[in-house]
Symmetry: C3
Subunit: 110 residues, 3 copies
């Protein structure tokens, strides 16, 4: 295996209950990423956390909030990641987006 490509990991931290036009924002980001043919995206649900405004989010029984933290992770070239950013500007009201350089190796079915 050789890590030849220098790509970008974009991570979007938002809330499970964040909606845009009545639909969960994280679902819409995934659908948009697929529509833009980005190479991959993954949604991970956290079980506790707080965000831009220090709302405590927790999955424990004492706090029945369903607003758990969500992390969306997308890996692609800088150029392809750029295509997604205007959509994020549109749908995200609160949240944090991080970007970092990574080395990537892809396995593909032949």
């Amino acid at each position: 295996m050789h890590f030849e490509e220098e790509d970008v990991l974009l991570r979007i931290f938002l809330g499970e209950s964040d909606v845009y036009c009545g639909k969960p924002v994280y679902e819409q980001i995934i659908r948009k990423a697929r529509e833009l043919k980005l190479s991959g995206a993954t949604v991970v649900r956290g079980e506790m956390g707080f965000g831009a405004h220090s709302h405590m989010r927790s999955a424990n029984v004492l706090s029945l909030s369903t607003d758990l933290p969500i992390v969306v992770e997308i890996v692609d070239s800088e150029a392809n990641i750029e295509k997604l950013l205007p959509f994020l500007d549109e749908v995200l009201k609160e949240g944090l987006v991080t970007k970092e350089s990574i080395h990537v190796y892809r396995y593909q079915k032949h």
Copy 2:
């Protein structure tokens, strides 16, 4: 969207059952991060893994261990992250802390 800030992503790998003064360490880290007004923190539960001492941790039915891996992720400036480190020294007995530079964009409600 412009990624103008250079921030730090701190990730803390520990066990779900790690306790300090009778309380889960990962919960205490989240509470401390909020107390220090760090900008955000997220707890993600893994479903299998091993750590500093190669204990196998798994959520499958054959192994009823509740000591699953936990990853706490915190994003903030280097200066703010520094404020949390003495607390981590106090509460962590085993585990791994990683630090990396990232670019951040924040969305805030107006």
Copy 3:
């Protein structure tokens, strides 16, 4: 706490239902990592995503697919991570492997 070591974070994005010789690939990666005495590995299950071939993976009730995304995270020295790569070449048919430099601090029981 001083982050003295420069280590590597390896992240493997694959599908829950990917198998090799009849066993889940992500489980085999964890077992191999332990066998190689790597310092730690964590499996996180995503709840939605798509990968190398744009299969939509989701945990929601409309799509009863069990092929959810899995992220395996391994932290160790560059030299130790290298030992795992031939095994990944053998077991991964689809998927994405990313590598990045991080700073690490380890806590060990005394």
